[in-house]
């Protein structure tokens, strides 16, 4: 009797685990989208500049990279979840308990390489490495990067990628808010 109960509970456990893991995956996926990330107004200039950018859907096909595509590590699932936890805790804490209008958003852009991950870029641009002389220009420009001769991250060269004219959007947004608060 005891043995039967054990077997059934394991089977049921696996079943519940599978079902709920689908939900968790969906949840993780959803919480990495621009819709979720911009639920608070802090991210307004970021998402506005993102929607104006090729990476935010402003392209012929309407293809988009999600916020999480660039801003979470895609090295492996563990790293992905680890960076996601870190970012969520930080952003949640700052939004609730800190004065986000006091943050120097322009200065933060200079550290883009610390919160943008090459492994994210490479999930989409996976063919860049294999590019051949059909796209000379792109291949030549990235040859040293893939050969390991330079230790720069993607955004250290492509320093506006993903957010078109973010500097202008940030200035507009926070100037408006600060003016209204006065």
């Amino acid at each position: 009797m005891k043995r039967k109960f054990f077997v059934w509970s394991v089977v049921l456990g696996i079943f519940i685990g599978l079902i709920s893991s689908i939900g968790i995956a969906d949840l993780i996926h959803y919480t990495g989208s621009d819709k979720f990330c911009t639920m608070c107004h802090t991210m307004e200039p970021m998402v506005k500049s993102y929607h104006n950018d090729v990476h935010g859907g402003n392209n012929k096909l309407g293809v988009k990279a999600q916020c999480s595509t660039c801003h979470l590590s895609h090295d492996n699932t563990l790293m992905y979840l680890w960076t996601k936890t870190k970012v969520s805790l930080n952003d949640g804490y700052k939004t609730l308990f800190a004065d986000v209008s006091k943050i120097d958003w322009h200065a933060k852009r200079k550290n883009a390489h610390k919160f943008t991950y090459d492994s994210g870029c490479m999930t989409c641009h996976s063919n860049l490495k294999e590019a051949n002389n059909q796209v000379d220009k792109a291949w030549l420009a990235h040859r040293d990067y893939f050969a390991g001769h330079i230790k720069k991250t993607c955004v250290e060269c492509h320093n506006n990628v993903g957010h078109k004219n973010l500097g202008i959007e940030i200035t507009k947004h926070w100037e408006n808010i600060n003016a209204n608060n006065k």
């Binding site: 220009k137 492509h158 506006n160």
Partner: protein
């Protein structure tokens, strides 16, 4: 009457016809389709008429071959500190700048820019603005503190080679006080430091050009560092000047070696990947001594720090005056001798450098005495406040900055006329003049 009118009209038509034919021959329309974007194509096609010289340079460049076009270097996001306020072409949503900083070049040439940043060239501009003495010289002594004209010794003089801190006007166009120039160490509004076009003139950027002595000669000349004159005085320069026009300056980096050339140019010794050596854009790397300073010390400073310091703190700074090889002066000399080994026996180059080193040390011996007298007079308050009105300080300056540099650089690059007649021979006179003034001031206790 009618006949005359018809004849006149016929004349006019034939002139007009001839004019239109000759126009058709003169104006050449460029049509390009090299996988360029429509915008890039429109730049080339319009600028072929507006600025044909620039497009002509580009179309003869390697950049044009691989499809790197105007927009790749000159287009900037609207929020870039260098982007012109108005879109160009009009209503295009495209923002451009006449400025192209090493931050753009390094997108494709990252190694070259990294090595450059580690060299003394990188601090060429910002060190000038970080030194009070240099600012005094430019604005106060040379510019006479003139309210409007004091900037000219800077913008028309020093910074043309050293590089300036480029500032933008209200429309985000570079200001006349700070641009145009071909300075090696420009500081661009986007934070990029350097001047690739100082050696690789835009818009062709030919490697063959930078490998010729002329690339260096526009700055490394004249009374205080006559490097091109020294080169011309040397056997290397003699061979280059007599047959350099027949050499091959076009090989790929790291592969340029004898018999592409029969004697080295500036680039060969200081930069090229000769034999086992790798190409470097760090021109300080193969140098053992600091030959420009008042006293020649061994280059023990490793990589220059001016750029990394600026990027960290945002401050103008003097960098690393003793920048050289990251493994020290002996490693630097060893690399330089590897260049020599392409053509010379090791005995030949060892003997040469042993004697050149002695000439540097002999200079130091002169300078040691001159500096001791200067320090003594200073401590006894026997120096004028305006160094340029003080005979002792003027001679001291020329001793290290003119004669002394010629003596040392002449020795290291085998220019005997500069090592001797323009160098040590004049130092011998200088030290006697300094001694006379020194004795007189000590005896009388006053400045003459």
């Amino acid at each position: 009457m009618l006949k005359k009118v018809i004849a006149l009209i016929a004349c006019l038509f034939s002139f007009a016809f001839a004019e239109s034919i000759s126009d058709a021959n003169l104006v050449k329309n460029l049509k390009v389709d090299r996988n360029l974007t429509p915008l890039a194509k429109s730049c080339v096609e319009c600028h072929a008429k507006e600025t044909p010289g620039i497009v002509a340079d580009w179309k003869n460049s390697r950049h044009a071959h691989v499809g790197v076009s105007c927009t790749d270097c000159h287009s900037h996001p609207a929020d870039s500190p260098m982007a012109m306020k108005q879109a160009h072409p009009k209503d295009s949503n495209n923002h451009v700048s006449a400025l192209v900083s090493p931050k753009t070049c390094e997108k494709c040439h990252a190694n070259e820019v990294k090595e450059f940043n580690e060299s003394g060239h990188a601090r060429g501009g910002i060190q000038v603005y970080a030194k009070k003495g240099m600012l005094d010289l430019m604005y106060h002594f040379e510019g006479r503190g003139h309210p409007d004209l004091q900037i000219s010794p800077d913008s028309t003089g020093c910074m043309q080679c050293h590089g300036s801190v480029i500032k933008m006007d209200a429309d985000n166009r570079p200001t006349k006080e700070t641009w145009p120039n071909y300075g090696i160490g420009n500081l661009y509004p986007d934070g990029g430091i350097g001047g690739c076009k100082a050696c690789h003139s835009g818009h062709k950027f030919a490697v063959s050009e930078a490998r010729k002595p002329a690339a260096c000669a526009s700055c490394h000349l004249g009374p205080d560092h006559p490097d091109i004159e020294i080169y011309n005085n040397s056997m290397h320069g003699h061979i280059f000047n007599s047959e350099g026009s027949t050499w091959n300056f076009d090989s790929a980096p790291d592969t340029w070696a004898v018999p592409d050339y029969r004697a080295p140019t500036c680039a060969t010794c200081h930069m090229s990947g000769v034999g086992e050596l790798q190409t470097t854009h760090n021109v300080s790397r193969r140098l053992k001594w600091n030959l420009w300073a008042p006293h020649s010390n061994l280059r023990t400073g490793g990589n220059d720090t001016a750029v990394s310091e600026y990027q960290k703190t945002g401050k103008l700074n003097v960098g690393t005056p003793l920048a050289g090889h990251v493994d020290g002066p002996d490693a630097a000399r060893k690399e330089m001798m590897m260049v020599c080994r392409e053509c010379h026996s090791s005995l030949h180059s060892e003997n040469f450098f042993a004697m050149a080193d002695k000439h540097v040390m002999l200079y130091n011996d002169y300078h040691k005495d001159a500096k001791a007298m200067l320090d003594d007079l200073k401590s006894k308050k026997l120096l004028k406040e305006d160094p340029w009105a003080d005979e002792f300080q003027r001679i001291y300056y020329h001793l290290w900055h003119h004669e002394g540099r010629r003596m040392r650089q002449g020795a290291m690059m085998n220019g005997p006329d500069y090592a001797h007649w323009h160098g040590v021979f004049e130092l011998k006179d200088d030290i006697r003049k300094l001694k006379d003034i020194y004795d007189k001031r000590l005896k009388s206790g006053t400045i003459e």
